[in-house]
């Protein structure tokens, strides 16, 4: 299941674990990324709280946790090569994985059609 947030994150659910990243639209708006800071494995994330930071040459932007959960894995390639997030934000440029406290809460987020229809 693939879902999106109004804050321009995407998450894909597989076996109760959600992979999280920034949307292609967000990556386009930010421009070339030069720094990525990811949460620590084991960290408890609260929906809406800052979970990661992505920085372009010009500005730093928080990436908010899309739902409650615990961080299980982070994408070290995104940290060592932030350009990989700019190049493929919804694929190889994923940021972290989290075990969702309530996987059913995914349903309430935006599907691709609803995200595309947002006035961005």
């Amino acid at each position: 299941m693939l879902r999106f947030t109004e804050e321009h994150e995407w998450l894909r659910l597989e076996d109760g674990i959600a992979t999280v990243g920034i949307t292609a639209h967000a990556a386009e708006q930010l421009g070339d990324l030069v720094f990525v800071e990811l949460p620590k494995i084991g960290m408890q994330l609260t929906k809406g709280a800052p979970a990661a930071v992505v920085e372009s040459v010009k500005a730093a932007s928080d990436v908010y946790a899309p739902l409650d959960g615990e961080v299980t894995e982070v994408n070290e390639v995104a940290v060592s090569n932030p350009a990989s997030v700019s190049a493929d934000p919804q694929g190889a440029g994923w940021l972290y994985r989290m075990r969702l406290t309530d996987p059913a809460a995914m349903e309430a987020l935006l599907d691709a059609a609803a995200y595309d229809a947002l006035d961005k």
């Binding site: 804050e7 421009g31 720094f35 992505v54 040459v57 500005a59 730093a60 928080d62 961005k120």
Partner: protein, 381 residues
């Protein structure tokens, strides 16, 4: 990611507005204008291209002002009374970086002044052009006329700039850094100066509004030239150690604190031919003699985290009280690392001093360093 705000406010347009849209620029509001922050190549490529070949910048939002008097020397004397700059001694055909100061010794604006023989032409910051025009109107004698020039302004910057511009204007090959000449570019009468704000060799071309786009397109037709947006303009000037008005310098900053003492001409300093006689002279000349309480410095963060404007600086990782502040900062594409500028007490400004910048609640070590971060490529000879 915060949701992006809709930008529907009408902004002024430069003569290159349609060209920016055709080139696919990402447009943002800046100083009341719709300006290109980057083009499809992206900020990093644009920045590196300007250092390696040539970048074309639309700087038409900046203010261009002509000062005239029946006796041109009268205009120079009058302007000199507002600046710690040697305007009287600026020869025809030359340009100089200068500062407008206030009575407290603060900086009202930084600008370029060119002597064209029959007039002086100023290029001032976009965000300051209204204030500067009002200041000049209020301060210059009636014998000096002030004309706001409605013209386009292009900057062609980078080691290939001379070769590119020579095709359209053969005379530029003979120009030195800070020369100013009225010559034809692609058959259009323009004012060309060998200057810029990237730390690279290059030119600024002041063109009639109606001809600006055609000149820009002729320059972009050269494979060595990429259009470069305001984003890379900012990272280029940061690496070059150059001040951004409103960030690194303002009315609360003196030229000596800002490390702009080079812009205070010897003739205007203590013992000079026309010492003093500019607003704030008492403070500024005293600071040159005794040293200022704080100074602008370069900072190289030790890690990879960019340290940005507003970050407080601390002498030790666990100090409660900050000793200074970052005024510009981000990532230097040519450095391949974060870089910043800010102010520290004079006693802490020696290169190699370790300080701590607070970013998202963490104290990150950074090393005080001289400026610029990237050596300039000016053609002085």
């Amino acid at each position: 990611m915060p949701a992006s705000a809709a930008e529907s406010v009408p902004f002024e347009r430069t003569p290159l507005h349609d060209l920016h849209l055709r080139l696919g620029a990402h447009m943002v509001p800046f100083a009341g204008y719709a300006m290109p922050v980057r083009y499809p190549a992206g900020l990093l490529k644009e920045h590196l291209h300007a250092r390696a070949a040539a970048g074309l910048f639309d700087v038409s939002h900046m203010g261009q002002i002509a000062l005239r008097a029946d006796d041109p020397a009268e205009a120079a004397r009058a302007l000199e009374a507002l600046m710690p700059t040697d305007v009287v001694g600026l020869p025809p055909g030359r340009q100089r970086y200068g500062l407008l100061t206030d009575e407290a010794g603060g900086i009202l604006d930084d600008l370029m002044v060119a002597n064209l023989g029959d007039r002086l032409v100023l290029v001032v910051n976009a965000a300051r052009k209204g204030a500067d025009a009002a200041h000049l109107q209020a301060s210059l004698p009636g014998a000096v006329s002030i004309e706001k020039l409605d013209r386009g302004l292009l900057a062609l910057q980078g080691p290939a700039a001379e070769a590119v511009l020579t095709v359209l204007a053969p005379e530029v090959a003979g120009m030195r850094f800070m020369d100013a000449r009225e010559i034809e570019v692609a058959g259009v009468p323009c004012l060309v100066t060998r200057s810029g704000y990237t730390g690279e060799d290059g030119f600024e071309i002041s063109a009639p509004l109606a001809a600006t786009e055609a000149i820009a397109e002729a320059l972009l037709a050269d494979a060595a030239v990429l259009p470069v947006g305001l984003g890379a303009r900012d990272s280029l000037r940061l690496e070059a150690g150059l001040c951004l008005y409103g960030a690194d310098i303002d009315a609360a900053t003196s030229p000596v604190e800002a490390g702009l003492t080079f812009a205070i001409s010897p003739a205007r300093r203590g013992g000079g031919a026309r010492s003093g006689g500019f607003p704030g002279a008492a403070r500024i000349l005293a600071e040159i003699q005794q040293g200022p309480a704080r100074r602008r410095i370069g900072l190289l963060p030790e890690g990879r985290v960019p340290v940005r404007a507003g970050a407080p600086l601390f002498a030790a990782a666990d100090d409660a009280v900050s000793v200074g502040r970052v005024t510009s900062g981000g990532f230097g594409p040519s450095l391949g690392a974060p870089a910043a500028m800010g102010y520290l007490p004079a006693a802490m400004t020696e290169s190699g001093t370790r300080v701590f910048a607070e970013v998202r609640g963490q104290r990150l070590p950074a090393i005080v360093t001289g400026l610029p971060f990237v050596a300039a490529g000016f053609k002085r000879g």
